[in-house]
Symmetry: C2
Subunit: 311 residues, 2 copies
């Protein structure tokens, strides 16, 4: 069984046929032109998918087309309600893709990635998992009983937009003190800029000459730079408190971290585990939550989107 899995990002669209064993066939891609009419982008994509399917010779049946899209996605109706990233609004993706003759299912991009990891990645041995994406923003996906939980009209699982510090930092969503404002790469970089202004001697000045990003900060910390170490320590505190909130709410079997910051791997994870162990919820007898790093990386979106068709 094969489904086409499409991962729509802010600047490009990538897709591939994926089979129900998680195998990814040849990948196709197209850019998202800034300012282009939203319907035009989807029609271009439709033509690309049409050409892709007819150019490939699949031995298995194509059961549908799954898509992960950033923003507020009305998945039951197949409509993008609003994507701040793409500036799409009330875009009926299902209707526009209809001429291809396949069933079309869409979901939020972080949901798709979570489903991919749950079916074929770091989460495949678990029943209930959360996935938290630590990138420009903080996204989330909820897998309950091996199925995606999306909430009413597909608008749940906004795990980055929960306040951990009332009256705190302004978040892009309008609220103040959201997890995203602290645990995203954007939040970490903002913290680093403030710390650098106060510490002219930190190695971060030198290391960031070609650009300051999360990797530079984690690399500097691992190399022993004191300012970077303090930044990472603080970051671990924010992320861990957010994670422990989710542990108490869902008590999942595992949480999978993905996105740019999760690339820090064991260096980050070991610190998060230590913080959570020391500061966990007081009740005795609650099972530990496995803290894992994404296995599928950038493929998780495509695989997860296709997995919308794999029970």
């Amino acid at each position: 069984m094969i489904a086409i899995g499409i991962d729509i990002g802010g600047t490009s669209i990538k897709g591939a046929a994926v089979n129900d064993k998680g195998h990814v066939f040849e990948v196709f891609s197209m850019p998202v032109e800034k300012g282009e009419d939203q319907e035009t982008t989807i029609i271009k994509l439709r033509n690309l998918v049409k050409d892709y399917i007819s150019s490939q010779k699949f031995d298995e049946e194509i059961v549908g087309i799954g898509m992960g899209i950033p923003g507020a996605i009305d998945s039951p109706r197949g409509i993008v309600s609003y994507s701040n990233n793409l500036k799409w609004r009330n875009l009926n993706v299902r209707e526009l893709m209809k001429p291809l003759g396949y069933e079309v299912r869409i979901t939020n991009d972080a949901n798709a990635a979570a489903l991919g990891e749950a079916r074929f990645g770091a989460g495949k041995d678990y029943r209930d998992i959360l996935m938290i994406t630590l990138g420009t923003g903080v996204g989330g996906g909820i897998i309950i009983d091996r199925k995606l939980y999306e909430g009413n009209e597909g608008k749940g699982a906004e795990l980055g937009h929960t306040i951990i510090k009332m009256g705190g930092r302004q978040c892009s969503c309008g609220r103040k003190g959201c997890l995203e404002a602290y645990a995203s790469a954007t939040g970490l970089i903002a913290d680093a800029k403030i710390a650098m202004e106060k510490n002219k001697e930190t190695a971060l000045w030198d290391l960031s000459r070609t650009g300051l990003n999360a990797k530079v900060i984690f690399d500097a910390a691992q190399a022993g730079d004191k300012v970077a170490i303090r930044l990472v320590k603080n970051y671990v505190k924010y992320l861990s408190e957010g994670l422990m909130n989710y542990f108490n709410i869902f008590r999942p079997e595992a949480v999978v971290l993905s996105g740019g910051i999760a690339k820090a791997g064991d260096y980050l994870i070991s610190k998060v585990k230590r913080y959570c162990k020391r500061n966990h919820y007081g009740y005795e007898g609650s099972p530990e939550v496995d803290i894992l790093v994404s296995k599928l990386g950038y493929d998780s979106g495509k695989i997860g989107a296709a997995s919308l068709f794999f029970e």
Copy 2:
């Protein structure tokens, strides 16, 4: 179809036969003796249930015994891992109740109450709901697809123990800044005491001569006392920010508020609704969440415990 629903509290145990239409038959109860051996309490309860069943003449078949118990409940195994309230620890309730000859299912008390409201109360027309209990503490229950979601080993849904203000007020659970520390009656009363010390002229001094509780504070606010009005305003802010976190995580169709504070009814709910409308998550197109008050009141625990047997 009938099940016995038992609601265990810190000072008393109440139970009743409940049928699958939500009808509650004659109620039985017994005190929980402080300091009594934990097994003894359950054996006394077992005898009480035995007498109750044999004294009643039910036309319908009894399918099992359901119990809601405060604390960390290992529901799959039927064991109370730890109850701070009752000082029970590793108590195998299922095993102890076995001689009665019925299947025994147990869950956390807030979970039971949520299931009761979902099946027969304020939540009965919805698929995905949350219940938040605003009492001495803040408890929670999660209903997904009309079923109870309990998390790994039944230890999830601790909705009160999520930090909304990092580094904030000490919570009974060991963390700092939990929703419970602000949105419980205990939190409100603590705030009131501080405000009263600063405002000797507030009507709260007079009204609280026989004891300060949430009702006194809400009544004073409704009667126009400025200090009480400010307390309620502040309380609404804490509760609403916590609720909005849950809206973004679950995007449920409805949230049901219960417990002592929810008795303030429309006076509270109207303010919470207004706050949430003004300060909601920035994404467009997210459906509103109905904010409701519990309908079953103190019966919700018994009805919900019995409902563990009603699909």
